[in-house]
Amino acid sequence: MSQAEKRNVKISPNLAQAFWRANISLAVKLLLVWFLVSFGAGIIFRDWLNQFSMGSAPLGFWFAQQGAIYVFVLIIFIYVRMMGNIERQFGLSDEPFNYGETPDVKQLPQYRKKPSGNRMVESALDPIPKYDPNNTTDPDGFVKPADPLNDSAKDDQSPEPHQQKESPKKPAKGDVFGGDKDDDVWGA
């Protein structure tokens, strides 16, 4: 599926909501760390932290001039990584495969079956079928199949153009990564 087609894929509201909750929950946790190292350690608790030291610098002063910056970098890369995982678990990644990794096609169906280690995501996903019984969710994933050529929401009955629908557990190699450069694990 090309990037242009992917933009028009229809996503079920429940999936999107669960995804948004997972995203917010992650961002809030990381922003808490962001606040604690800068405003916390660098400013508000500085006097108390200054009784300790990093090398020969008072710790609060060190956080304000060095430490906070290192942690900021870490926060962003942790977010990049964890958001990537969440997006793949929800089948919403806009990437062909994990950055810097060689995709292992055999692993993919398994990966989608056990979305995790991430209990938050799993529990968020559970209620989806209950909310929307008419949803023609694909058997392996959570994504409502759609006709990329037609934007109308009523068009659920149209033939599924994506090969995944027929054989969700054994995606043809070319379907996932090969051939068209724009292909990716959406729905895989």
């Binding site: 992917k6 933009r7 028009n8 894929v9 229809k10 996503i11 079920s12 509201p13 999107a16 995804f19 948004w20 995203n23 961002a27 990381l30 922003l31 962001w34 800068s38 405003f39 660098g42 400013i43 508000i44 200054n50 990093m54 090398g55 020969s56 610098a57 008072p58 002063f61 060190w62 304000a64 001039q65 060095q66 906070a68 910056i69 290192y70 900021f72 970098v73 926060i75 962003i76 890369f77 977010y79 990049v80 958001m83 990537g84 997006e87 919403l92 990644s93 806009d94 990437e95 950055y99 994504v143 759609a146 934007d151 929401a153 959406w186």
Partner: protein
């Protein structure tokens, strides 16, 4: 081969070579379409985009002024270090991926579409222009400083040369030209910043890495740089380096204003429109911060080294025996000496050497020792030395006695920092005018070709205005720049944030919020900085927040006005709520 050349020749050589490089890249990466011109076609790889963002971001203020400001402010200077890096966390987590998914060209594009209103778009354009012109003023002044000191030409000539270079690659190349030029400029500026830092750190601490030298103890004396600095400064009557004099409230407010301002600066946000995918927008923010952090964790070390070196060099030295750099900077007027006790020696301590803020030189007259004559009235304290904080990084290699090619390198680096930021700002200004103001607001039937032409003309016009500011600089580089952040934090950031995180926020609320935040912040800054500068002391500040930090309060005012005033009108229309739902997911659409 470099040993035989004098510093002057080397400086011409290095800056000349770097300018040729930038122009070469500009020709190679000309913009062919409006998409190229505004967002570099939308396919810049995230690592390169991170590098370009870092160069775009780190301005003359970061390169030239920041370490100097920290050197003189000590702990208080931390607001700039945390404030100008922490904003990237907000960008990566709260804005960049969603704006990329939205997938258009400019910040007013998003605000105009999200708040379904031409007025909102126009208010966003006004905020963008105010913020960007405030910011660009500082850059041209930085270009002027570097030229006047290192190439010994007038500031005017320096600004004209700078304008010419920026004109060439911003007008020709648009975002595409700028992005690839900025990658080169990042390499030049970081190399120029790190080489003297390594040298000085090695010299002073036996530790080549400044970040480690900063916190290490000296193996000989067993006393660390920071301890020595604290002792020396206390002896001279200054507060301790590691302890500040700003109130906690003001520290928090300034840091926050700089962070949220970073996340609201149009020329930074627009960088995340240039990457291919949503995931790349996040990744690109991370890379940008890594490249920025290299300089930002070095700066406090450079600051501490420079302060010690400066005190060691000038304290109790005969004027006749001062090193050459001292007199060079005196000739330019950024250092002044007033011999209060007529002993021919320099005495440095806390307090201003005269009753005025700035030295007033008596033409080219010289006094008995050869120092420049001043018309200032000597103050009561024992301090005899005026030093402009902006010179610390530029003078650092000379203060530490480094070879001539290092000094030349720093000049090229300072120019790279100033030019890259100026170009990025000029681009968002021109895009705001040609795309948002002309194409989207008033002349909807503009063809792509005409729009590209309009973009080039407005880029050229923006270069002229920036040049005017460079010739008539409003104030300190970093100080001017710091206000741009407050304004961005109070006007643009809340509108973007609510546009993504609230589905129902309506146009009435958003417009009122932006106007209220901007008016309050601008009014507070103008009150203390332009109208009643004599009242600008902590006792008069509202809640103890200085004009630099007031954007933080302005941001809350923006949010409060938007939410309360917006109540009077219904929620945003359904198709807008659906648009917000769509930008929250990286692929596909829900409706």
């Amino acid at each position: 081969m470099f040993e035989t050349m004098d510093t002057q020749t080397l400086t011409y050589l290095f800056t000349g070579a770097s300018f040729l490089l930038y122009i070469g890249i500009a020709i190679w990466s000309r913009a062919a379409s409006t998409k190229d011109f505004y967002v570099a076609g939308g396919h810049v790889p995230p690592v390169l985009n991170g590098m370009a963002t870092a160069a775009d971001w780190m301005s003359a203020a970061s390169f030239i002024s920041m370490a100097g400001i920290i050197a003189f402010m000590g702990y208080d200077g931390s607001v700039y270090l945390m404030g100008w890096t922490g904003g990237y966390v907000l960008l990566a987590l709260l804005l960049a991926p969603y704006l990329r998914k939205f997938g258009k060209y400019t910040v007013p594009d998003f605000i105009g579409d999200r708040y379904y209103s031409k007025t909102a778009r126009l208010v966003a354009i006004a905020c963008l222009l105010i913020v960007s012109f405030t910011y660009v003023a500082g850059q041209m002044r930085g270009v002027g400083i570097v030229f006047s000191r290192f190439l010994e030409v007038d500031i005017e000539t320096g600004v004209y040369v700078g304008m010419g270079i920026v004109f060439f690659y911003a007008v020709l190349g648009g975002m595409k030209g700028i992005t690839y030029t900025q990658v080169a400029q990042y390499c030049v500026l970081i190399f120029a910043y790190m080489v003297p830092a390594f040298f000085i750190s090695m010299l002073m601490t036996d530790n080549a890495l400044p970040q480690l030298g900063f916190i290490a103890s000296n193996p000989d004396s067993g006393i660390s740089i920071l301890e020595k600095l604290d002792q020396t400064l206390v002896e001279l009557g200054f507060p301790k380096y590691t302890e500040g004099s700003k109130s906690t409230m003001d520290m928090v407010a300034i840091t926050a204003a700089l962070m949220f301002g970073t996340a609201g600066l149009p020329h930074v946000i627009v960088r995340f429109f240039t990457v291919p995918k949503v995931a790349d927008a996040r990744r690109s923010a991370g890379w940008a911060l890594i490249f920025i952090a290299i300089l930002y964790t070095t700066a406090p070390a450079v600051a501490a080294f420079a302060r010690i070196n400066f005190v060691d060099t000038v304290q109790n030295t005969d004027y006749q025996e001062t090193p050459q750099w001292f007199r060079n900077w005196e000739d330019i007027g950024l250092i002044a000496w007033i011999d209060k006790n007529n002993d021919g020696k320099l005495h440095y301590s806390a307090g201003s050497p005269f009753n005025e803020d700035k030295p007033a030189f008596d033409g080219t007259n010289r006094l008995s020792q050869g120092q420049r004559a001043l018309t200032n009235e000597a103050s009561n304290n024992s301090n005899e030395i005026y030093v402009d904080r902006d010179i610390m990084v530029l003078a650092n290699p000379e203060i530490a006695n480094l070879p001539g090619w290092v000094i030349a390198l720093v000049a090229a680096g300072g120019l790279a920092a100033a030019l890259s930021t100026a170009a990025g700002l000029l681009l968002v200004i021109s895009a705001a005018i040609s795309h948002d103001l002309l194409k989207k607001s008033f002349m909807n039937d503009l063809t792509e070709k005409q729009e590209l032409w309009a973009a080039r003309v407005s880029a050229a016009a923006a270069v002229m205005v920036a040049g005017y500011f460079g010739l008539n600089p409003p104030a300190f580089v970093a100080q001017v720049v710091a206000f741009a952040f407050g304004l961005a934090a109070a006007s643009i950031f809340p509108a973007l944030f609510m546009g993504i995180f609230s589905k129902t926020m309506n146009r009435e609320g958003a417009i009122a919020g932006m106007l209220a935040g901007l008016a309050f912040t601008w009014g507070y800054i103008a009150y203390f900085k332009f109208w009643y500068p004599e009242l600008n002391v902590a006792a008069n500040w509202w809640l103890g927040i200085s004009p630099e930090g007031i954007g933080f309060l302005g941001m809350f005012i923006n949010f409060a006005v938007a939410v309360l005033y917006g109540q009077a009108f219904g929620p945003a229309p359904t198709h807008i709520q659906e648009m917000v739902e769509d930008i929250r997911i990286p692929v596909g659409k829900m409706n």
